[in-house]
């Protein structure tokens, strides 16, 4: 792989890492499979391109994050107040967001060709070679630090406990509906920010760009945890970021082998399915081994 392609993969990985951190917050911390992500990612991107076209690239990032968090709040409302199953609540919001994203963008795709973005700015400032990389790295680092600090505050502890043992949370006089809502808002704010960054990085946004984001995020999460471990929250956060970067490098390598890009989603799904079912498969194999051993001893 050329140095140029490698650097591109790292940049993309750092941008997608924000989305993967969102998945980490919902899936690992809150213990909820939140499918809103496919929609809130595109929502962040849509809001971002609209703001960029109006000439506010930095504001675009914040607007993307806020839009994402609103989507998360809607999902949380469906889950906690209206008692819709978490998976379905996510699917409903994701599907509804498809229409909203088309409304926000005004068409199914918007190009930023020739527009000022945060990436063109930073390239003017730091040079074309490393500008984008530095920006992606700085944003990812700042988000990691803030997340690490947040999950050790009282509110952060309450949110972590909500995913761990809801009974205990209620018994500690914490409103679990509130902590779930804050958690999902935070998760989707990260996802929205990721979409907003990506739209400016690649210079366009389209209605279908969020498809499969949940799976990509989970794959990054699992790759990171397997390689770097998840003993503490801070370590887990760093593992997710590194996992997202490694995932992008793997994709870049796969793309070099002349494989059809359309097959990538299938591969991502397989990675996630195998990784999540790994303990079960290992259990079945161990049991087989024991049984065979027993048979042999009896014979």
């Amino acid at each position: 792989m050329s140095m140029y392609a490698f650097q591109g993969a790292v940049e993309l990985g750092l941008i997608y890492a924000l989305m993967a951190l969102g998945i980490f917050v919902s899936y690992r911390i809150l213990d909820v499979a939140d499918l809103t992500v496919d929609g809130s990612f595109t929502l962040g991107a849509s809001v971002s391109v609209v703001c960029v076209l109006e000439g506010h690239p930095v504001l675009a990032l914040f607007a993307g994050a806020i839009a994402g968090s609103l989507a998360g709040i809607v999902t949380a409302f469906l889950q906690t107040k209206l008692k819709i199953q978490p998976i379905l609540a996510g699917i409903l919001v994701m599907t509804g967001l498809y229409s909203i994203n088309l409304r926000v963008m005004g068409s199914s795709n918007v190009s930023l060709l020739g527009e000022d973005t945060v990436f063109t700015w930073i390239q003017e400032l730091l040079g074309e070679d490393y500008g984008s990389l530095v920006l992606a790295l700085v944003v990812a680092l700042v988000v990691c630090i803030l997340l690490g600090l947040f999950f050790n505050t009282q509110l952060g502890l309450s949110i972590r406990a909500t995913g761990d043992n809801e009974d205990m949370v209620l018994a500690s006089s914490i409103n679990a509906n509130f902590t779930k809502t804050v958690g999902l808002a935070l998760a989707n704010a990260l996802v929205g920010l990721s979409g907003a960054m990506l739209a400016q990085y690649q210079g366009f946004s389209e209605a279908t760009m969020g498809i499969g984001m949940v799976v990509i995020g989970l794959a990054s999460l699992i790759i990171g945890e397997v390689i770097f471990g998840n003993r503490t929250v801070v370590r887990n956060i760093l593992a997710v970021v590194l996992g997202a970067v490694i995932y992008r490098i793997i994709i870049a390598l796969v793309l070099e082998t002349n494989m059809a890009p359309g097959d990538l989603k299938l591969i991502s799904s397989l990675i996630v399915a195998i990784a999540i079912s790994y303990p079960t498969i290992r259990g079945i194999l161990n049991q087989r081994k024991l049984r065979r051993k027993g048979d042999r001893n009896r014979a």
Binding site: T153, Q154, L155, L157, R160, D167, M168, L170, A171, S172
Partner: protein, 266 residues
């Protein structure tokens, strides 16, 4: 202190599974009372405690705690005043969080959770001192994940957590039943100590009739959602296990059929 006025609860009303667990139930507790509750399976003991702690809302009647009407208060708001411990030692603690994180969460019971640091340095000192009292060696394991502790240790921690901010009312739902006898005795001893020290009004369900008579200052026996026996003072002191079983049979026209009770008293 605690007043239950004519409370009723029917689960699945209007269906074939309809079951009235509490009907027109009234009870009044004095400040500092330690009430032990016994009764057959399905007598409504756990339902009574759940109604008080707010797991569900009652269909009728009022619940007053310290003159405050808590009948319609959601569970997490009542939890600021009421500690509730269950038989399952896994219910009271968060397994994937550390011991100090668990304690920190319950230490802020009743106050708002904001963006300030979760665990202050002086908190750690307090946690260590509180844990040392248990005599289980937990004071050196503040940063261990609670999931690594044994069932007895977790129940002891859960007990600390529900009493660290002294509650107005402590509800114990057979909280030693899932522990081995030695650990159960230890947790029970700690319970008595904490309750008497904090002068906490307590209700404890137990299947052990002997300890129901030995612990606390008042014993009530429940059957079919009603109090069928309520003893305290001299009458309670003179009561033996045999007397109590006889009284139960006379009142309810049946034998006490709590399976665990029978096993332990035969």
């Amino acid at each position: 202190m605690l007043k239950l006025q004519h409370i009723s609860k029917t689960f699945n009303p209007g269906t074939v599974n309809s079951k009235t667990v509490l009907s027109d139930f009234s009870l009044e507790l004095q400040d500092g009372d330690f009430v032990t509750i016994i009764g057959s399976n399905g007598a409504g003991k756990s339902t009574l405690l759940n109604a008080i702690s707010g797991t569900f809302l009652v269909d009728q009647g009022r619940i007053l705690l310290d003159e405050q009407d808590i009948t319609l208060l959601p569970r997490h708001k009542r939890a600021a005043m009421i500690g509730h411990l269950f038989q399952d030692p896994l219910k009271g603690t968060a397994p994937n969080m550390t011991l100090e994180e668990n304690l920190a969460l319950s230490y802020r019971r009743g106050s708002r959770r904001g963006f300030s640091v979760g665990i202050h340095r002086e908190d750690r000192e307090l946690f260590r001192k509180t844990l040392a009292r248990l005599g289980l060696g937990l004071e050196d394991r503040l940063t261990s994940k609670v999931g690594l502790l044994s069932g007895g240790q977790r129940q002891a921690v859960a007990l600390l957590m529900s009493t660290m901010v002294t509650p107005k009312l402590l509800l114990l739902d057979e909280h030693t039943a899932a522990l081995d006898p030695a650990t159960a005795q230890k947790v029970l001893d700690i319970t008595r100590e904490i309750v008497s020290e904090g002068h906490i009004t307590t209700m404890m369900i137990t299947h052990n009739i002997a300890s129901a008579l030995a612990i606390g200052n008042r014993t009530i026996m429940m059957d079919q959602g009603q109090v069928i026996l309520d003893i305290q003072g001299q009458e309670r002191e003179n009561m033996t296990v045999e007397d109590l079983l006889a009284r139960f049979q006379a009142k309810s026209n049946k034998k006490l059929d709590n399976d665990r009770m029978l096993l332990e008293n035969n």
